[in-house]
Every structure is written in C-alpha cells, then in structure tokens.
Amino acid sequence: MGGQSVVRTVTLGSDGGGLHLVPCSRLVKLANGLTCNVSVRKGTIHADAKNILDLMVLAAGPGESLELMTSGDGAEEAMARLVRLFETNFAE
C-alpha cells in the first residue's frame, strides 16, 4: 500500500439533520468500497469511516465542520468521492 495521505475539511449542510443515521450509512457504504483507510475527525474525536458506530459517536450536527483523511492506495481519488458525497448532501 502506498504512503499517500490526503486531508480535507468539509462542512455539513446547515439545513440538514447533521450526520445522522442515513448520512452515516451512505458514508460507510462508500468507505467500505474503498481500498484505502478513511477516517473522520470532529475536534478530538476520531472515527473510522468504515464503522457506522464510530461515525454516529461523532454526533456531528448541522453546519459543523469535519476533517476527512484518506491514506493508502487511491487516497486522492477516494477523497474526491468522499467530498462529493458531502457536497451532494449524501445523495446516492
């Protein structure tokens, strides 16, 4: 696995419900289809984006910012897909 890692900050829509179960499910589904590692950080709390319980523990509300990090093979392409998921408000 390559050593590449990519970090981006994303902001949850202020008119949505935050990172509740539907967005978490869609994020997990995308992350589990990626070969690289994917993590999400809110403040000091880190979550493995391939683990739905980890993501729900973030309790990220509308308008909150999160830091996404991908590392390993295809990290750059994976980040583009993750950012797009947030930008489209988790539309499938």
Binding site: G17, G18, L19, H20, L21, V22, S25, R26, V28, K29, I52, L53, D54, M56, V57, L58, A59, A60, G61, P62
Partner: protein
C-alpha cells in the same frame, strides 16, 4: 446525556416474538403507548412515520442491532423503547444478519440535537462488546435496567 435520561423503563420488552420488521416496530411503539408516554391516537401515525423512515435505508446497523426512529410532534422530549428477541427479526440490515436488539427512538421535530445525542449515546455503548453481549443475555426488564445503569456509570469494563 445518559441512557436513563431517555429509555422508558416500562417500555422494555425482553421476549419479543414478531413475524417481521413492522411487527417489531408496532410492538415497541405499543409499549410506549401502554405506559402513557405517547397518546393512543398517535400510535398509528408514529408507526407509519418509522416505517417511512426505514424506506430511506434500514436502521439495522449490523451486529444484530437496529435503531428504528422518527421525529414526531406527539412527544416533548426524546424517548426510547428497547426490545430483545431471541428468534431475531429480518431488518434488511447493513450486514444482512437478523436483529436481536432494538432501540426505538421518538424525538420532537424541533430538537434535532437530542436525536443526534441519543444515537451517539446508544452507539457509544454498542461499541462495547460487553454491553451487547450482556444485553442479548438479559432475561428480565430488571436485568436490562441494571445493565443500562452500569453502562451509564461506565461499570461494564
């Protein structure tokens, strides 16, 4: 927020036997009605809202757990019912396995933060293998309440 802040003690079912997802949701909402937490004339509306929410994607989050939920104006604070089922219920879960532990949440529409914190609280405890294991083994409402108390006080290791 603690589990004891929103789990309704009289809305805990330890021997749920139902044929399907809707039966499970109806039983859990019925338990909230039976102890006066929701009005009888809101029951069908809440069940319908939860089933509609399930159409967006199953709340069966894997490892035998489901957290069906909805926002509904019939409640003024976040409330939850719990059901345990030995036989399991098909919830079309993320991992394809049947569900043995259900947390059903109803929250007021104007307090989305409570809903997120309730899910956060449940998820945090579900990450503890001891919590899931002990909950699946609980046979009585009292055993479940003791477990919730121990979880709230970080006494499960």
């Amino acid at each position: 927020m603690k589990l004891s802040d929103f789990v309704v003690p009289d809305a805990i079912i330890t021997d749920l036997v139902v044929p399907n997802k809707e039966g499970a949701i109806r039983a859990l909402v019925g338990s909230l009605k039976a102890c006066g937490i929701i009005a009888a004339d809101s029951e069908d509306s809440i069940v319908a809202a939860i089933m509609k929410r399930e159409e967006l994607g199953s709340t069966g989050i894997g490892n035998g757990v489901a957290v069906p939920h909805t926002k509904h104006p019939s409640v003024t604070k976040l409330v939850a019912a719990i059901a345990l089922t030995n036989g399991g219920v098909d919830f079309a879960s993320l991992d394809g396995n049947s569900v043995h532990i259900l947390f059903l949440l109803v929250s007021p529409p104007d307090r989305p933060g409570d809903h997120l914190r309730g899910l956060e609280n449940i998820s945090r405890h579900l990450r503890n293998p001891n919590f899931c294991s002990f909950l699946k083994q609980a046979k009585t409402k009292e055993e479940v309440l003791t477990l919730l108390h121990d979880a709230d006080n970080n006494q499960l290791g």
